[in-house]
């Protein structure tokens, strides 16, 4: 568009509808000129949108004059002339720069470019442009026709349009309130999402909407409006290019007019997040119109997506809460079962007194003890610790107790009983990768003997009446590690005044926030001394609980604490 032009612009008008300005090559002067132009156009009654368009176009034109100025005499000036004609405004900007090639079809630069939009704006805001370049100076002529005045008969239509726009805003707001109430009523998130998408499509005048959410790293379709639901796909490899780009870039992706008849003319794919987690994508498109989405429509889409994300989180929280409640109930039941494993109040057998204590670190654990009267001869006793805690450990404990009880004919032969228990439980324990440490024994008063077998459990301590103690230590590994172990048996003659302590390793766990014992020998030493001074096992139990800092707060216990006391009276 370059051509030879006079160095000075031609007078635009001599009838009082013209305005001109002249000033230095300084950016501050550009705004002085464009504000002056604004005031001139305002004085001629031009509508505000027209004035705003001129103000921006003239600012951009002025910026070009100043930015491309290459120095020279300090008193050089550039000029702006405006003519207010009945049907248009004509502007001429004159500078004395070297000039540049004015693009015929300026394009927008990349989104992250910090410059390069000025000439695009001038083109967008004016109807006619001519840039005349000459060695002595340049003249940029711009024209913009006035928008036709609104005929009085169209005022009603304009009012209707404005009302419609206001109604659209109101609709957006009221939709949010409506959805809030609806979200409380709707049980399925899919139904809620379908309703939301339908409203969003109406408000944004789109004919196709797709709402996808992320579930277990898959993009699944939650709702559609006006189109077929796309199939589920991995989150990071959607076959829909714009979806894939939105996930990759974490930014909105846009569809602009294409030549393909089946493609949308305009559209938007918006990924929505909670913190850093991708929650889903909303895709909206228009097949009937190439009208691009304006900022208001984009905002509505973003707001709806955010609202949906909050609802999804709320549902997720609700589901977690239900799951947690169910789990808590299951734990309570399992804890009740574990407590039921402990022996009921026992019949008194002459010459022997028994007591026990079992406290779980969690609401359920893997420790248990058992005491079974053997007629009036004495007691068969069991103390065991299943590896691990929780429901699984509790279930294995129950199974172990039942199996031990099923071999009642072997109560007098603890080692043979353990052989059978180990054989029966090995397969299950091996599959579950668990094991059980267990000590079993029998106190037979008529025979005057104690027999003990120990499978990997803490030593059973037997205090002697004259002082000192003896121990039934673990000679074989825990149950579950070997298929056919052969357990050995301790046989100790009964003496009046003997005290027997069987305990689990919770008594020596350093993680307990209570005064535990340091080692197994420390337990034995303490027990021998305490047993000598305790008149009865009930007082010995109280002394031991005091030593362990027994409390009602289970949080201070890192491991189950279980013990069993038997006294030979």
């Amino acid at each position: 568009m370059n051509s030879q032009v006079p160095v000075s612009p031609e007078p635009l008008a001599a009838n009082g509808h013209a305005w001109q300005w002249s000033g230095p090559y300084a950016l501050g002067a550009v705004r002085e000129a464009s504000i002056g132009a604004r005031n001139f156009l305002l004085s001629h009654g031009l509508p505000e949108p027209e004035i705003a368009a001129w103000e921006l176009a003239l600012t951009e034109a002025g910026n070009n004059c100043v930015i491309h100025h290459d120095g020279g005499a300090p008193d050089l000036t550039w000029q702006m002339h405006l003519l207010f004609a009945p049907d248009r405004v004509i502007a001429r900007i004159h500078d004395c720069n070297k000039g540049f090639a004015w693009p015929d079809n300026p394009q927008l630069p990349d989104d992250d470019a910090e410059s390069g939009r000025g000439i695009f704006l001038i083109h967008s805001l004016t109807d006619f442009r001519k840039y005349a370049c000459h060695p002595g100076g340049n003249i940029l002529t711009l024209e913009r026709r006035h928008k036709p005045a609104i005929p009085s008969e169209d005022l009603e239509a304009t009012l209707d349009a404005m009302t419609e726009e206001l109604a659209s805003c109101y609709e957006s707001l009221s939709a949010i309130f409506r959805f809030t109430a609806e979200a409380r009523r709707t049980t399925r998130i899919e139904d809620f999402a379908t309703s939301l998408l339908k409203h969003l499509s109406t408000i944004t005048a789109t004919d196709c909407g797709i709402l996808r959410i992320v579930s277990q790293n898959q993009l699944i379709t939650l709702a559609t409006h006006g189109c077929e639901p796309p199939p589920a796909c991995p989150m990071d490899s959607s076959p829909i290019p714009l979806e894939a780009a939105a996930v990759r870039s974490r930014q909105d992706q846009w569809m602009d007019a294409t030549e393909l008849a089946s493609s949308p003319l305009s559209g938007l794919v918006h990924p929505f997040y909670h913190d850093d987690e991708l929650m889903g994508l909303i895709s909206l498109s228009r097949h009937h119109s190439a009208q691009p989405f304006n900022a208001g429509e984009v905002n509505v889409a973003h707001t709806f997506a955010e609202f949906l994300a909050q609802q999804m989180l709320s549902r997720r929280h609700e589901e977690d809460s239900i799951r947690s409640s169910v789990a808590r109930r299951e734990f309570e039941l399992a804890a009740a079962i574990q407590q039921s494993l402990l022996p009921p109040p026992l019949q008194k057998i002459a010459g022997v007194s028994v007591t026990g204590h079992c406290e779980s670190a969690l609401s359920i654990g893997g420790d248990f003890y058992d005491l079974i009267p053997c007629g009036d001869k004495g007691y068969f006793f069991v103390i065991a610790d299943v590896m691990g805690k929780g429901v699984a450990a509790s279930m294995i404990a129950a199974v172990c107790r039942s199996i031990v009880r099923s071999f009642s004919q072997l109560y007098q032969f603890p080692a043979r009983l353990l052989d059978r228990v180990a054989m029966q439980m090995h397969e299950d324990l091996e599959r579950l990768e668990m094991f059980v440490t267990i000590a079993v024994g029998v106190v037979n008063v008529p025979e005057g003997v104690i027999r003990v077998a120990n499978a990997g459990h803490c030593p059973v301590v037997i205090s002697l009446p004259g002082g000192g103690f003896t121990e039934a230590c673990p000679e074989q590994p825990p149950v579950g590690l070997e298929k056919n172990p052969a357990f050995s048996e301790y046989e100790i003659p009964l003496q009046q005044g003997m005290r027997i302590l069987a305990y689990t390793d919770g008594l020596i766990d350093p993680r307990n926030q209570r005064p535990s014992f340091d080692t197994q020998p420390a337990v034995a030493d303490w027990f021998a001394a305490a047993a000598a001074s305790a008149p009865h096992i009930s007082s010995l139990k109280s002394t031991l609980l005091d030593r362990l800092g027994h409390s009602t707060d289970p949080n201070t216990l890192a491991d189950d604490q279980t013990f069993l006391l038997i006294g030979i009276d």
Binding site: L27, G28, V30, R31, A52, E55, L56, T59, E60, N63, V66, I67, L108, D111, D112, A113, E114, S115, G116, R117, G118, F120, L121, S124, L125, Q251, D252, W254, P292, F293, N294, A295, G296, V298, N299, H302
Partner: protein
């Protein structure tokens, strides 16, 4: 222009014009005030009456500043005339606009 720090967000407000004449100083002030620990920028545009292409460049520069730290720029309370310029240049697709 007012600049204020709130937690990890730099709040910028009271900008009346973003033009080729004012944009360099705005960008400079932001760089100076975007101290360690700041991640996001909230630009209150309720007083912003006029923006030209250089002003748009300043907004993109702010966005890059925040993005470099994993944060984002939000444009708050934009006037319709400024929204029109963003729409004209399609930058309404790029910025997070909060009405």
């Amino acid at each position: 222009m007012n600049i204020e720090r709130k937690d990890t967000t730099l709040h910028v407000s009271n900008i009346h014009e973003l033009t080729a004449g004012t944009a360099p100083e705005v960008k400079n002030q932001l760089r100076l005030n975007f101290a360690d620990g700041l991640i996001h920028i909230d630009c209150d545009c309720s007083n912003l009456d006029f923006v030209d292409s250089s002003g748009l460049g300043a907004l993109i520069s702010m966005q890059k500043l925040a993005n470099e730290r994993g944060g984002k720029l939000r444009l708050l309370s934009l006037k319709p005339s400024v929204v029109q310029v963003l729409e004209l240049t399609r930058l309404h697709r790029v910025f997070e606009i909060v009405p």
